[in-house]
Assembly symmetry: C2
Homo-oligomer: 232 residues x 2
């Protein structure tokens, strides 16, 4: 689960959506100038309010991202998987972090300081464009999240979050039935539902044959039908 071999690291950088369109040397440069660090379960990759510069690229493992809500509440925004970048909003604006990311698996991060980014950009100016691409995609997904949450009913929201979790996986879905490793409680939290209600809807979906429920994981059996639920 914590693949650290150099070839696996390179593969993550090659397959990351925001780097895929650029020559592999860009990823190589990032790897050369950055620093690989391990984080255990429960540790932060970054904390909301932290104002150090630089970027962090997730190489292996998985994180949950949270955002502060009024009344000392925290809201889980989504899953952060290998290939994702943390800190880009700060990098561009100098403001404090917007989200807190907590490791839920042993995680490997590629830390890039401001100086390291400048060194890479000196040889490969397209770096900024690549990071801008990621920022744009991220903004799009946040906007999508907000729109779905307002427009969709609870059941549709749940399905939408499930599909979003599936999409965010860096691995290309070779298997016809991708397995999402997430508890029903967490999925419900992301949709603003209690575990009970989440369970209720998921059971109904399982009875319809659209998904299969396991212990701490969900298998998507009919992705097209799930998509129709939130589109209809």
């Amino acid at each position: 689960m914590t693949g650290t071999t150099p070839s696996q690291t390179r593969e993550v950088l090659r397959q990351a959506p925001w780097l895929r369109a650029y020559p592999p040397e860009l990823g190589e440069r990032l790897l050369a100038e950055g620093r690989l660090v391990r984080r255990a379960i429960g540790e932060w990759a970054q904390a909301e309010g932290d104002d150090r510069g630089g970027l962090v690229v997730v190489i292996a493992g998985q994180l949950h991202s949270y955002c502060a809500a009024p009344g000392d509440r925290t809201v889980m925004i989504g899953l952060v998987s290998p290939g994702a970048v943390l800190g880009h909003a700060t990098r561009f604006s100098g403001g404090p972090r917007l989200v807190t990311a907590v490791c839920v698996e042993p995680t490997i991060l590629l830390e890039l300081t401001e100086a390291a980014l400048d060194r890479v950009a000196a040889h490969r100016p397209e770096l900024w464009r690549a990071i801008a691409d990621f920022t744009y995609a991220n903004m799009r997904s946040v906007l999508q999240l907000a729109a779905e949450t307002v427009a969709l009913g609870p059941r549709e929201r749940l399905v939408a979050r499930l599909l979003a979790a599936a999409e965010r996986r860096a691995e290309p879905d070779t298997a016809e039935a991708p397995v999402i490793r997430i508890s029903q409680e967490l999925l419900g939290e992301m949709a603003g539902l209690t575990r009970k209600t989440a369970n209720h809807h998921l059971s109904a979906l399982a009875r319809s044959g659209l998904i299969a429920l396991g212990y701490g994981c969900i298998r998507l059996l009919d992705r097209a039908a799930l998509q129709r639920i939130i589109s209809g």
Copy 2:
């Protein structure tokens, strides 16, 4: 309502949150290189999917911003007031527009083409930093929107949207009781509620003396108490 005098235009650029920290010459440059255009009620300032570059600064009037949601629905994201920038996500990434903005008042926009931006930046490189500031603030408010929608109950959501609408007004709230010009129906839509439910909660708030309801407008009487509702 459609103040076009040069001094009013300059004042908007001076007071815009993302420009306030920079010398007034930056705003002057933008004004000199950009083009002022009028838009009537119902016209677009920009449309989702539009992929022309450049930026638009709102000088006078008001717009509603919408975002596409699954199932051919559109969700109103918020009010766009003088001082706001449209098109920044596209400017940085080259992707298509993320939101559609429609004028709900006669509106004056300052259109800045890619070439105009480059000309301004040649003399005032801090332009990019200023726009990055705006992008960051915008991302923050969208994230806030999503978090509130998930974490808060319907009534609290409604209050949150009301306060957000009040904050987004460029005018400094000199009056102790700022007046928000928005229909209950629209406010309800932004909170994902029907007009009936929005009315119900607003009436209760009015009976408690926290707000005063008018025809197409809402007056905030006790902002601190409203804030406590969503924080408690």
